[in-house]
């Protein structure tokens, strides 16, 4: 068979039943960061390959190259043994590659059948009228292959997230699909829904479809994959058969060091309550109460759509509060806008630093002083001397690696960008710092620096609220973890009593 030509010298762990996809020495750089550095993967027919890595390891970049959304700098891609240049999404689809992203691409006001056949509606007759009957029938068949009962005429907006995902899968296999890529498919699913998804994956597998499964939940990796490829900081650490490894081994491969070094936790003296939230209600969540103490790191855990981001936005004045109250230092506050929250010494490091945290085309110094333009000099003019001094101080103190304070932040690495956002709130003198997924998209080294920095701040008397979907991270760094599900509070754990099972269970309640 053709693929055997490329099998020689390939991944020794590949099974001998044919390599469907081979990505060889793929390199991709972005300004300021090497996202992928000579990464190679093999995918066999009918195999479920897990790609494992922390945030920022290069998983998404690899997938986007495969899907034709990014163009690789160098390297080769072979599909069924044929060298293949993917120039755009259309070519990827034509060669049988289907990607299901975490953010689903379904259209809410169309039916299931319409979504499945979007862009390639079945038509009949000389005037190419849409053939509804055949489309409905074909949808039935596809859903039947997946072993699920869904009405092809149901409006998508009425379905649950997992049902929408099933529609995406049906869409993916509506044309011949050789390779199905799923990017964190369970991020918004409950335990039960995850199991039915796994059933579908097994069905597809038995029909010869190869699946690339991306996740950072170890439990799932062990349950569904045949083989795992681990990436770290844009490099491939290795591939290993799932049965030949265990959790500890994989974590070590992921973080490249002992877990203790990865999550350096110091015991900080925890003081009085600095923030109290009582029965808070706003868009996205309801009836949330908690206390935050001085020097404490409070973790908030929840699945996608649990209301965690809505909650922190409300705590920062960016989501209108409908009921309940917030007190800062025992004083009731009315957080009507981020400006007021800032004056109450609250700072927010948002989920997406590029769209919410930074003015990318501006320099490091402009971004560090962004929340405190008013303090740059006494008159209405900006004192450029003061500005440099202030920015320079933080660059030095928290180790932002940049050629200078004039450097455009766009060209910094993710970790350094995140530090710039943090520096903005340090400059602002924030005592309560809210971090939403603080280590999203940054390399392992920078993550450790961020963890250390967070604890430095706590030692100096600040308090931190941290949202994270990385279980290891939140269980290691947070002193206390609140779990949210569907906009409600479900459980609270001290660091020592939290476990992956407990947190996931509480997040699905």
């Amino acid at each position: 068979m053709a693929s055997s030509i490329y099998y020689k010298g390939g991944d020794i762990l590949s099974d001998n039943n044919g390599v469907v996809l081979r990505m060889e020495n793929i390199t991709k750089t972005f300004p300021g960061v090497v996202a992928l550095d000579n990464v190679s993967i093999d995918l066999n027919k009918g195999e479920v390959l897990g790609i494992l890595g922390e945030n920022g390891a290069g998983k998404s970049t690899l997938i986007k190259i495969l899907a034709g959304n990014y163009i690789k700098d160098s390297g080769n891609i072979f599909v069924d043994g044929h060298k293949f240049e993917i120039k755009g999404p259309a070519e990827a689809v034509a060669s049988g590659i289907r990607v299901i992203y975490q953010e689903l691409n379904t259209i809410n006001n169309l039916t299931v059948a319409e979504n499945i056949f979007i862009g390639e509606q079945i038509v009949k007759g000389p005037f190419k009228v849409v053939d509804w009957k055949t489309m409905t029938k074909r949808s039935f068949e596809l859903l039947d292959i997946l072993n699920v009962k869904l009405d092809p005429n149901a409006i998508l907006g009425d379905l649950t997230v997992s049902e929408k995902q099933i529609v995406e899968i049906a869409k993916a296999i509506s044309k011949e699909a050789k390779i199905l890529v799923m990017d964190e498919p369970t991020a918004a699913l409950s335990e039960e829904e995850t199991q039915s998804l796994f059933k579908i994956i097994r069905t597809l597998k038995s029909k010869g479809v190869s699946v690339i499964y991306i996740s950072h939940r170890l439990k799932e990796i062990f349950e569904i994959t045949d083989r795992v490829t681990v990436l770290r900081d844009g490099k491939k650490v290795g591939s290993i058969k799932t049965v030949d490894t265990d959790e500890n081994k994989l974590v070590e491969m992921m973080v490249g060091r002992d877990i203790k070094d990865m999550y350096p936790k110091r015991e900080v003296k925890i003081g009085d309550v600095v923030m109290e939230v009582k029965n808070l209600k706003a868009d996205g969540f309801n009836d949330i109460s908690f206390k935050l103490r001085k020097g404490e790191i409070l973790g908030i855990f929840g699945l996608l759509g649990s209301g965690r981001t809505s909650l922190v936005k409300a705590l920062f004045g960016a989501n209108r509060i409908k009921a309940g109250e917030i007190s800062v230092n025992s004083k009731k506050v009315n957080l009507k806008s981020p400006g007021i929250a800032k004056d109450e010494k609250i700072g927010l490091v948002p989920l997406d630093r590029k769209t919410e945290g930074l003015a990318l085309m501006m320099g490091v110094k402009e971004n560090i002083t962004l929340a405190n333009i008013g303090d740059l000099g006494k008159s209405f003019l900006i004192s450029k001397v003061q500005e440099r001094k202030k920015a320079g101080k933080w660059v030095e103190e928290i180790g932002i690696r940049t050629p200078g304070v004039d450097q455009e932040v766009n060209s910094l690495s993710g970790g350094n960008q995140q530090k710039v956002v943090l520096a903005k709130w340090l400059e602002s003198g924030s005592q309560i710092i809210i971090l939403n997924e603080p280590t999203r998209g940054i390399d392992v080294g920078a993550k450790i620096e961020i963890y250390k920095l967070m604890q430095d701040l706590c030692e100096r008397g600040s308090s931190i609220i941290m949202i994270s979907s990385e279980l290891l991270e939140i269980m290691s760094i947070a002193d206390r973890i609140i779990v949210m599900s569907k906009g409600r509070f479900t459980d609270e754990y001290a660091r020592k009593e939290a476990s992956e099972e407990k947190l996931l269970h509480s997040a699905c309640l």
Binding site: P338, M362, L381, P403
Partner: protein, 327 residues
């Protein structure tokens, strides 16, 4: 790695400097060629002074509109504002109001128009292109209503001075206003806290909001100032022509926006230089003046004006695409 980046930065700085500098070089070259081809009239007092006067109100409005555009919004209603202001001035003078009071009312009228635009955009959330195309028609329509569609004489010592007066007997007053406003907007945009907020909002409105900046307030004030400056432009034009008529300032928005984009202001906001706008205004004003004195039919000039806008925006988009490809 760090060194490479530092080099990149200095190159970027250089090329940005070059942009404005290039425009001024083009300007000088154009001026030389036009003076030769259009000799002897082009470079004569008879042409230069009216040209500068004409350019003055275009430049004044362009400087302030640059601030609005850097913040990521736009105001197409400035031409309509000029028309309405012209009619208002003539009407009030006709009613016998003193000149100084007419000036104050006209500027206040400009503020009201600016506030209306600002409210539509920041309070209701209307896209500023749509909002100000709407108000462009409203302002001019009110101008037509006030004047019954006719030209009205607008003669009064105070009003006369605004457009046709001289400082120290040699410097035309509109030119003084032009220089004053450019110096002011330059200082605001390049050195003030306010200007920094304007750039930050244009660069990333969401990040600015989440850094505690009152985005709506900054944008609103931009529209307010733009309305008032357009009214000042209307005063100058009324004074220059000694009549108030609703057709005043027709098509002005096209010339002004073309000049600003030619000057290097980004359409999406966040980037733009006041000096670039000055160069853009000078280049286009000189070009149109030259075409006029060469007896190019007015209809053709309209075709040129439209083409220039498209050309300028196309160049901008192509350069953006090239910059993107480089990264």
């Amino acid at each position: 790695m760090a060194e490479i980046k530092a080099v990149e930065v200095s190159q970027k700085k250089k090329s940005r400097l070059n942009n404005t500098a290039t425009l001024f070089i083009i300007l000088v070259a154009m001026f030389g060629i036009f003076s030769y081809v259009g000799r002897p009239f082009f470079f004569s007092r008879l042409n230069i002074i009216p040209m500068l006067n004409n350019l003055s109100f275009i430049g004044i409005i362009a400087a302030v509109l640059t601030m609005v555009m850097v913040s990521g919004e736009i105001d197409f209603s400035v031409g309509g504002n000029v028309g309405l202001t012209a009619c208002l001035v003539a009407l009030l003078l006709d009613k016998g109001l003193p000149g100084w009071l007419v000036v104050i009312i006209a500027l206040a009228g400009g503020l009201v128009m600016g506030a209306f635009n600002g409210m539509l955009v920041t309070v209701i959330g209307v896209n500023s292109i749509m909002a100000t195309i709407g108000t462009m028609f409203i302002w001019r329509g009110i101008g037509y209503t006030l004047s019954n569609g006719e030209s009205m004489l607008a003669i009064n010592p105070v009003i006369d001075f605004i457009g046709r007066g001289f400082i120290f007997k040699v410097i035309p007053f509109p030119i003084v206003l032009l220089v004053l406003i450019f110096v002011l907007t330059y200082v605001i945009m390049s050195h003030s806290k306010w200007g920094r907020r304007v750039y930050a909002i244009g660069a990333n409105p969401l990040a600015s909001y989440l850094s505690g900046i009152n985005v709506k307030k900054v944008k609103f004030i931009g529209f307010l100032l733009c309305g008032m400056t357009a009214a000042l432009g209307g005063l100058i034009l009324t004074s220059l022509s000694a009549v108030g008529m609703p057709q005043h300032g027709q098509g002005l928005e096209l010339v002004i926006v073309s000049s600003i984009i030619l000057g290097g202001t980004a359409l999406g906001g966040g980037k733009g230089q006041i000096l670039g706008t000055l160069a853009g205004v000078l280049i286009l004003s000189i070009l149109y003046n030259f075409l006029t004195i060469m007896n190019v039919y007015y209809f053709y000039i309209q075709i040129v004006q439209g083409s220039v806008l498209i050309l300028v925006v196309s160049t901008y988009e192509i350069r953006q695409a090239m910059a993107r490809r480089r990264t």
